[in-house]
Structure formats: structure tokens, C-alpha cells
């Protein structure tokens, strides 16, 4: 425990230095709970060969997850989320570091049927009905849920008799979720579960998830939607460029990354005046177009309209997560050099 708690504090220190996350108490209490961790990833690294030379996909990741936690692994594409999950599941071997799942190696945990997983890629096995597929998968596990219960939990009772190759993208995802759940696992791992789902399926999906986590299961899901992580996880682990760059309660991460952007058309604006507005953290001018990065967009927009009633084409958007990551990692590197 000592080693990984140190590592967590170290990476936290760097983030604190960059002025983004202030969450020492949470981190300390989590470190203390580490002894009861159901999952621990210690110093994981993984590189791949590519035509452009070796790619260091994961560079020293330490994560501890306690039983019953619902944790989001949040990060842009290429952050190393899927690679980390592959190592957690034993689908790939880390170059260095250790993985413990309920005190076992990943392959032991898989052999005990302790892990249910919904991988990022993939269709489902064809030429079977949904019900048959779930029955088949359940038969491979020692303590499966019943087929009817699984279908109901995943919200797919109505398509139980449909062939798996005649499903929509969203339906396929929910069937894959059912495949992960039928094993009745202690740990459920979901890699970008809501990709290819429309808004309604997404909503239904998270509803089923909550029923499942209500049973005291441990859940780790990867996503690149901040809203999704915020709404469905107790804790968010932020990854960028193969490293954990922040780890804490959803609200903290949200505050660190979830700023909003105000855009508008305003001829003759003065950057310093804009920067002085309440709630504004950054300002950019391109011709007549202005872009403000805001911590408190409500205050900023009120002040903006008061100072500049002539402003046109106002637009307020959530800051893209990718931008937040770039900022975060860029400031980390800046702090180190």
C-alpha cells in the first residue's frame, strides 16, 4: 500500500502545482482505504511498436479501487484507457507493474468468473437470438444470473427473440451489456459503453447500470464524456497521454476541467477589459470574434451583456474535454521543465 499511496500523492502534488485539483483530504482517505482495495494497479507501463517508433501508451499508472465503488476512467482518445483496461482484464501483459483483482491475477479472477466485461470493439456472435446468446454466455460461468433477469436488467426483454445480427447499434450495445452482466460479476468493466448509442438508449443504459451498482458491485467504466462520468461515477480518474493526471470525486474533477466557453461577435473589444470581467479565466480575439474561457459563465455573461450590449451571436458551450486535457498536460509539463 505504501508504495502506491506515495505514487498517488506524488501525482497529486504535480496536479496541485498546476493549480487544478485541490483534494488532499479525499486522496488521503482513499490511500487509507487502499488496504481493502478490490483492484490495484501498481506502476503499470505498456509500450507498443509502431512504424513511427515505440509508442508509450501507458506510463506508470497507479490506481486503487475499493469494493463497491463506481469509478469512471475519463480521458480523450489515445489517453491509454483501453490499454489500461486490457491489462486489468489480462488481455495484454504490462511491460512493468502489477495487477491485482480481488487478490488474484487477472486470469485467475477471470477463471473464477469474478469479472464481467464489455469491451470497446465488437459486434456480438451472430446467428443466435439475443436470448440464446445470453443463455450460452451464462452457461460458461459458475454463478450466472437467470436469462430473464439479465434481459430485464439490461432492458432488452422485448428484443429477446430477435437475431443478434438484426439489431440497431444501440440495441447491440445493450446486448453486450447483458453479456457482461449475465456472469453476475463482482467487478464489471465497461470500455466506452455508450458509444453508438442515441440519447434514449444512453439514458436507459445508465438506468440499468444503477440497478446493477445498487447490488454493491464494483464498476469501472471508461468514457470520454465528462457529463457521463459526472452523472454516473462516485469517483473520476482522469487519464491523459498514458498517465493519471487527476483522481478524485466527480465534482472536483468537474471543477478542474468543466469550464464553459462563451463565443460572440464584438467589434472593437479590448482583451484586458474582457479578462477583467467576473468569471473569465481566458480571452481570445480573432478579428471581431471573441472567445472567453470561463470558470463561472453565468456571471461572465451577465457582465458581458452589461458592458457590451452590442455583442451579437452569443454562444455558451461546455469546454471540450480534449481542450481541458491539453491544458492540463501542457501545464504539467510546463511545471516540470
Amino acid at each position: 500500500m505504501g508504495r502506491s499511496a506515495d505514487a498517488a500523492l506524488l501525482s497529486h502534488h504535480e496536479i496541485g502545482h498546476a493549480g487544478l485539483v485541490q483534494s488532499t483530504p479525499t486522496l488521503l482517505s482513499r490511500g487509507a482505504a487502499g488496504s481493502a482495495a478490490s483492484i490495484s494497479l501498481i506502476g503499470l507501463t505498456k509500450s507498443f511498436r509502431s512504424s513511427a517508433g515505440p509508442v508509450r501508451a501507458v506510463r506508470g499508472v497507479d490506481i486503487e479501487i475499493a469494493a463497491g465503488e463506481t469509478v469512471a476512467l475519463l480521458g480523450p482518445n489515445g489517453a491509454g484507457k483501453s490499454t489500461t483496461i486490457d491489462m486489468l482484464l489480462g488481455l495484454s501483459k504490462p511491460d512493468a507493474g502489477e495487477v491485482h483483482v480481488f487478490g488474484m491475477t487477472p486470469s485467475e479472477a477471470v477463471a473464477h468468473g469474478a469479472i464481467g466485461a464489455m469491451l470497446q470493439t465488437g459486434a456480438v456472435l451472430d446467428n443466435l437470438s439475443v436470448r440464446e446468446l445470453i443463455d450460452m454466455m451464462g452457461s460458461l460461468y459458475p454463478y450466472p444470473l437467470g436469462v430473464d433477469e439479465t434481459l430485464e436488467l439490461a432492458g432488452i426483454t422485448d428484443i429477446g427473440d430477435r437475431r443478434t445480427n438484426k439489431l440497431s447499434g444501440g440495441q447491440t450495445q445493450r446486448v453486450r451489456f447483458a453479456v457482461a452482466m449475465v456472469s453476475n460479476p463482482d467487478l464489471l468493466v465497461l470500455d466506452e459503453p455508450t458509444v453508438a448509442m442515441d440519447v434514449e438508449s444512453r439514458h436507459k443504459f445508465w438506468e440499468s447500470m444503477r440497478v446493477f451498482t445498487g447490488r454493491g458491485k464494483t464498476v469501472l467504466f471508461a468514457t470520454h464524456y465528462l457529463e457521463e462520468a459526472d452523472a454516473n461515477a462516485d469517483r473520476i480518474i482522469l487519464m491523459a497521454r498514458g498517465e493519471v493526471v487527476a483522481d478524485g470525486a466527480a465534482t472536483e474533477i468537474k471543477a478542474a476541467t468543466g469550464g464553459r466557453q462563451i463565443r460572440g461577435t464584438l467589434p472593437g473589444a479590448d482583451r484586458d477589459v474582457l479578462l477583467a470581467l467576473p468569471g473569465v479565466r481566458g480571452a481570445e480575439l480573432r478579428g471581431d470574434a471573441i472567445t472567453l474561457n470561463c470558470g463561472d459563465s453565468d456571471a461572465a455573461v451577465r457582465a458581458l451583456l452589461q458592458s457590451y450590449p452590442a455583442i451579437r451571436d452569443l454562444e455558451i458551450t461546455g469546454a471540450a474535454l480534449e481542450d481541458a486535457f491539453l491544458q492540463l498536460t501542457a501545464s504539467n509539463e510546463g511545471a516540470q521543465s
Binding site: 495484454s92 469491451l119 465488437g122
Partner: protein
């Protein structure tokens, strides 16, 4: 063996109509088209052998070989959809996975053999005594074992795009070296090479139906060695094959 898993795999085999029919139809169609108009005995042979019988047993062995290899195509498709990675996250042991794949391969091969025999019977082929049918079929079942393992091997090595040429080329290669279409000379280099190739012994199994003797020890050894080697390679290919395809 996991009975539920195997049951659904067999069900999938039958429901995949296009693949199911195509891998069965080729040897059957060859037989119907070529043996149909060619009644009588094979010319220029000291022994008198009925052509329709000869062609039936040859195509039965060849068809079983194609059916066994075609498992590779099914596995490659499963891999391309990422299903194999999903399966690895279940407690299904490697041996259990292989047992089911071997069972489905054999199911396919046996259907192929049965179809050829039925076509032969329809053309009036009779093999007597009946124990010859049994002996021939039994040896065929043993003789396709290396090809069953080979099917699983290529399924885990190649992508589904390259499966057509691989299975087509592979079955032609082994068909030729094994003397499926043309009997090999009974001495010389081609014969020596042929004797080391499992399809040679598969063909010899077929010829039991036209009065040839059963395998000598060499046949059992060659089939055994190829089966062990192919199974070991298939196991190796399965274990290394955990990447996202």
C-alpha cells in the same frame, strides 16, 4: 465439454446457411457432375474399379478435408468482430474452447461425408462387405484430424479477408500432394513426399472403399504427428492472439 456452449455453436453452424451450403456443395457438385455421365470402370487399370465408387470415396475424403478447414473461416470472422476477446473473459478454459471447435468441425465433415455417400448410393454405388464402409469411414474420421487442427490454426493466424485463398489454396495443395484427383505414382520423389502428407493417408482411407488395404503403421504415425503438431501450433496461435484485431 460445456454442452450448452456446444449446442449453440452447432446451431450457429446450421443457421449460417450460405457458408454451410457452400462448403458442402463443392465436392458434392463435382461428384454429381463428373460421376454422373461416367458409368463403368476406370480404363487402363489392371484391377476393375467402378468409376462412380472411386469418385465417391475420393470426394468424400476431399469434402471432409474442406469442411474441417472451413472452421478457420468461422473463427476468423469471430475474431474480426472482437468476439474472441470477449470469450477470453469467461472462465471457459482453452481446452473447452478447442473441444467445441473440434466438435463443430467434425459435425461439418460428417455431414459432407454423408452427403457424398447418399449421392453415391443414388448412383448405385455398393460397397461390400458392409464392414468396408465402416472401416473406410472410421479411417477418414481419424485422417481429417490434422485438418481440423489446421483449420483452428489458420483461423487464429489469418484475417477473414485472406481466408478464401488460404482455404482454397491449402485444400488444392494438400489435395494434389495427397493424390486426391490423380493417383500418385507408387514410387519416386512425389510418392515419398506424399507419404509424409496427411492428405495422402486420407486418400488411402478413401481407397479402402475400393479394396485397398488399411493404413500401415506409417500412416498412423504421419496422421498422429501432424495432428499433434497442428494442435500444438493452434494452441500457440490461440494464446498469442489476444490483441484487438
Amino acid at each position: 465439454m460445456n454442452a450448452t456452449y456446444t449446442k449453440y455453436e452447432l446451431l450457429r453452424l446450421i443457421r449460417n446457411k450460405r457458408a454451410f451450403i457452400f462448403s458442402l456443395i463443392f465436392p458434392l457438385a463435382l461428384y454429381l457432375v463428373i460421376a454422373g455421365p461416367n458409368k463403368g470402370t476406370i480404363p487402363n487399370l489392371a484391377v476393375k474399379i467402378d468409376f462412380r465408387t472411386f469418385y465417391m470415396v475420393s470426394m468424400a475424403g476431399y469434402g471432409a478435408m474442406i469442411a474441417a478447414l472451413s472452421a478457420g473461416a468461422r473463427i476468423a470472422v469471430e475474431r474480426s468482430t472482437g468476439w474472441n476477446r470477449q470469450l477470453r473473459l469467461t472462465p471457459l478454459p482453452v481446452a473447452g474452447y478447442f473441444r467445441t471447435k473440434v466438435t463443430t468441425s467434425y459435425a461439418m465433415a460428417l455431414v459432407s461425408i454423408a452427403l457424398l455417400f447418399a449421392a453415391g448410393l443414388m448412383y448405385g454405388v455398393r460397397i461390400s462387405p458392409f464392414s468396408r464402409w465402416i472401416e473406410m469411414t472410421g479411417l477418414m474420421i481419424v485422417g481429417i484430424l490434422p485438418f481440423v487442427a489446421m483449420g483452428v490454426l489458420v483461423g487464429h493466424l489469418l484475417t477473414s479477408d485472406s481466408m478464401g485463398p488460404a482455404i482454397g489454396g491449402g485444400s488444392a495443395f494438400f489435395g494434389f500432394l495427397g493424390g486426391v484427383w490423380y493417383p500418385l505414382p507408387d514410387h519416386g520423389a512425389l510418392h515419398i513426399i506424399g507419404e509424409c502428407i496427411p492428405s495422402f493417408w486420407l486418400t488411402r482411407a478413401s481407397y479402402v472403399g475400393i479394396g485397398a488395404p488399411s493404413w500401415e503403421l506409417k500412416g498412423w504415425l504421419v496422421i498422429g504427428a501432424w495432428s499433434v503438431a497442428m494442435a500444438a501450433l493452434a494452441g500457440w496461435a490461440y494464446r498469442r492472439d489476444t490483441k484487438r484485431v
